[in-house]
């Protein structure tokens, strides 16, 4: 079989947020960068955004329920504009975030998008992952690698602010604060309040402001409230001992602040006003989009600078999350792939990590640890496949790798008797030999995929797509499902 060294795949990112929905289509170039008979090393060498959709207001059938059918129509429209059909799309992800990230919504969207999502698109959500994708899409992650500086990216959207702290390209801390530009709605370009969300009510109370829906408000009245919210956003960067308001607005545990923050990037809808030369001066300017986003952006900028943080301009503002979702969700890996054509793609493979510290040194020990974890998660009963995630063998000797193989076969005995495929995800560079050992030790040919040099911390599920590059690699998407939050 002729093996090409370069291939391109189409990836789509769909971001369904509290206020807006958008999608981005990217062309990813993947190459085998090892030469000749070196062990193949496939990586993504280029990412080109080829289509940015319009930014739509998230269609809602009710205050909190997304109109899934309307969303699928948006996707259909944008594909048409881009000149693509679902069959053209190889991979990608849908991210459902903010206040709309509720169980009912996710299920509805997944169902509605099933046909439009192409052969391989998965639903993923979760505040932490959203912050990470935003930081990757905005360029914060890359900045932290190139400049060796710790960067925090805050994606300030309609309902929430999602933080991700990057150190040498890795997201080391995340959190989410319930502050966004859309928490109070207005008549567009007017000064009359049309909606006050719950978190906004808390902020108003804290600022000593009493406001009702229908009231008119002046800029001097609004500013202190928005300032207070901006201060909360900044306080999360400064300290772990926070004000009552900040603590009330936090949706996840706050940042541990274990690294000194060198730079701050702001992405999301509000970001354009953070980097503007001057802030809004009239209510009309503030409520241009029917919310107070422009004022929040400006006050945030002032607050960050006063607190001594250095702002860095991101590559992407509004589209950071969706671009991150579309381009950064794909990992490529694969060392030993013994699967039949029809087995892939595998979706929602549950990841189990039976070894918290060092691997036991006997076959029985390894088998037992795996069996216990499978039992604990009731994995044997589940319908889907299970992926065994581990750092690697005890040491990289052949003896220990073989021992690990035998232990895995023992531990997965019951699972394998159901003729389910064996999926292994290892951090160490030994996928091929481990796969070979498993085959040699098994008493019958197994369906197996053994992926190495991939870290799967804090991840609940993975999706494995159809092989690429002449069968050398498979795309793997790591995900946490919204249900588990």
């Amino acid at each position: 079989m002729p093996e090409s060294n370069i291939q391109t795949i189409m990836s789509v990112g769909i971001d369904i947020g509290t206020t807006t929905t958008q999608l981005v289509i990217s062309r990813l170039t993947i190459e085998n960068t090892a030469s000749g008979t070196f062990v193949p090393h496939v990586e993504i060498t280029d990412k080109e955004v080829i289509h940015r959709s319009e930014i739509y207001i998230t269609p809602l059938s009710d205050r909190d329920l997304i109109d899934a059918v309307a969303v699928s129509k948006i996707v259909e429209t944008e594909y048409l504009v881009a000149g693509l059909t679902p069959e053209n799309i190889d991979t990608g992800a849908v991210i459902i975030t903010g206040e709309t990230a509720k169980k009912e919504n996710a299920k509805a969207i997944i169902d509605a998008l099933a046909g439009y999502a192409g052969d391989f698109v998965v639903a993923t959500a979760g505040a932490n992952l959203e912050g990470i994708y935003a930081g990757k899409g905005s360029g914060a992650a890359a900045f932290s690698v190139q400049r060796h500086q710790v960067v925090v990216n805050i994606d300030v959207g309609g309902g929430t602010s999602n933080y991700a702290m990057f150190h040498e390209g890795k997201a080391v801390e995340t959190t989410c604060l319930n502050v966004g530009g859309h928490l109070i709605e207005f008549e567009p370009q007017g000064d009359r309040i049309t909606y006050i969300s719950e978190p906004a009510k808390i902020a108003l109370q804290s600022a000593g402001q009493r406001l009702q829906v229908g009231e008119r408000i002046t800029l001097p009245q609004l500013r202190p409230v928005v300032k207070a919210m901006a201060a909360c956003i900044v306080e999360v960067l400064k300290t772990t001992k926070q004000s009552e308001l900040t603590r009330a607005l936090l949706m996840t545990p706050t940042l541990r602040l274990e690294h000194t923050i060198r730079k701050v990037m702001i992405s999301g809808g509000v970001a354009d006003y953070v980097y503007a030369p001057q802030g809004p001066v009239t209510m009309m300017e503030v409520t241009e989009f029917g919310d107070f986003g422009p004022l929040l952006g400006w006050e945030l900028k002032l607050c960050l600078e006063t607190a001594g943080f250095v702002l860095e301009k991101p590559n992407e503002t509004v589209r950071a999350t969706v671009i991150g979702t579309g381009t950064q969700s794909v990992n490529l890996s694969g060392s030993t792939i013994h699967l039949q054509e029809k087995t892939l793609p595998l979706r929602n493979v549950m990841v189990i990590s039976p070894f918290s510290s060092t691997i036991p040194d006997t076959v029985q020990g390894i088998g037992k640890a795996i069996k216990n974890e499978m039992l604990r998660l009731q994995a044997n009963q589940s319908e889907g496949s299970v992926a065994l995630a581990l750092k690697g063998p005890r040491t990289m000797t052949f003896v220990n790798i073989n021992l690990l193989a035998q232990g895995v076969l023992l531990g997965m005995e019951e699972y394998l008797s159901q003729n389910k495929p064996l999926v292994l995800v290892i951090e160490a560079d030994c996928g091929k030999v481990l796969g070979q050992c498993i085959n040699a030790n098994a008493n019958r040919p197994l369906e197996m995929v053994c992926i190495d040099q991939l870290e799967v911390e804090d991840c609940d599920y993975i999706d494995i797509g159809k092989p690429l590059m002449g069968g050398r690699v498979v795309p793997v998407v790591l995900k946490t499902l919204v249900f588990n939050r």
């Binding site: 002729p2 093996e3 000749g36 008979t37 070196f38 062990v39 690698v145 400049r147 060796h148 500086q149 710790v150 150190h167 040498e168 990289m396 000797t397 052949f398 003896v399 790798i401 073989n402 160490a428 560079d429 030994c430 996928g431 091929k432 030999v433 796969g435 070979q436 050992c437 085959n439 040699a440």
Partner: protein, 302 residues
């Protein structure tokens, strides 16, 4: 705490002597210190039961004083084995950098100049034959002899080795005995397992002492194997004396040139880990058997 006691004693003695000296009560001989007990071979305050020893500090230690961006230095050092971020004393390297360089050189020299131990060969069940070379010095200066077999080797191979196999594996010391001892125990079983699983007929591997790459050609002719795999020690760099290469060739003859050999190099724990390399090589050998070609011809077919 023997050391501490000695230190304390030393301080006390010294201060007493200083006092005596001040008062002019010491003879000029023992003037300022306890010199007289310094006998020829025993140091004055030796640690009698010392398990302390001097070692090199870890490689990731920060050696630049007052770095502009310590994180950047650390990341850069991690990204390459090159000796960067090592600081300076004036325009010269720091003492530890220099001594580490010397140690790496010593290790490389030892790798070249020492032989694979008999014990290792026994543990790994490897029969030994020797090339036409008779000493390590001759090996280094006479590559032509390293490419030929000794008369005794020809006899041994003819008598003892299985003929007409598909694959024959050779373990060759080449320019680094250390590489062989470090990698073969994990590489060889992985390679053998892969070939066996694929149902390939493999002759028992053996060791060629003072061998060069091309010694695989005369051996192929004696054993009549389709593919010969030589696992051979690479010339050591400083500090990496463990790198091994695999040279594979399909049915060599007198017209064989260098371009006919397929090479996988940099096999060691810091490169391609040996066990993983074994599995990979098993794949490559199978591909060569299928293609009935190796080297450039093999690449062209892919």
């Amino acid at each position: 705490m023997a050391v501490a006691n000695n230190e304390l004693e030393k301080v006390i003695i010294q201060s007493v002597l200083e006092e005596l000296a001040k008062k002019g009560l010491l003879p000029s001989k023992g003037k300022d210190h306890v010199m007289s007990s310094a006998s020829q071979d025993t140091p004055l305050y030796s640690n009698t039961s010392s398990e302390e020893m001097v070692t090199f500090p870890p490689l990731d230690e920060m050696q630049i004083s007052k770095p502009f961006n310590a994180d950047a230095v650390k990341a850069m050092k991690k990204s390459t084995p090159a000796r960067i971020g090592i600081g300076r004393a004036g325009a010269r390297p720091k003492t530890m950098s220099w001594l580490r360089f010397l140690a790496d050189h010593a290790v490389a020299q030892d790798a070249v100049f020492l032989d694979v131990s008999d014990e290792f060969l026994k543990q790994n069940n490897l029969m030994t034959v020797q090339s036409a070379v008779t000493s390590k010095d001759e090996f280094l200066t006479r590559p032509d002899l390293g490419r030929r077999l000794s008369e005794e080797a020809v006899k041994t191979i003819t008598e003892k080795c299985e003929k007409n196999v598909q694959v024959q594996i050779l373990v060759v010391d080449g320019l680094s005995s250390t590489a062989i001892e470090a990698n073969i125990p994990d590489l060889l079983p992985a390679l053998m397992q892969g070939l066996k699983s694929a149902g390939i007929k493999v002759g028992a591997p053996f060791f060629v002492k003072y061998g060069r790459v091309w010694v695989q050609d005369p051996i192929a002719n004696l054993v009549k194997a389709d593919v010969i795999v030589s696992l051979i020690g690479e010339r050591p760099g400083l500090g990496t004396a463990e790198s091994l290469s695999a040279y594979m060739i399909y049915q060599p003859n007198e017209k064989t040139v260098e371009a006919d050999r397929t090479v996988v190099s940099n096999i060691h724990k810091g490169g391609i880990p040996p066990a993983e390399a074994g599995a990979h090589l098993s794949d490559v050998v199978q591909q060569i058997l299928t293609a009935k070609a190796s080297g450039v011809k093999f690449n062209q077919q892919k």
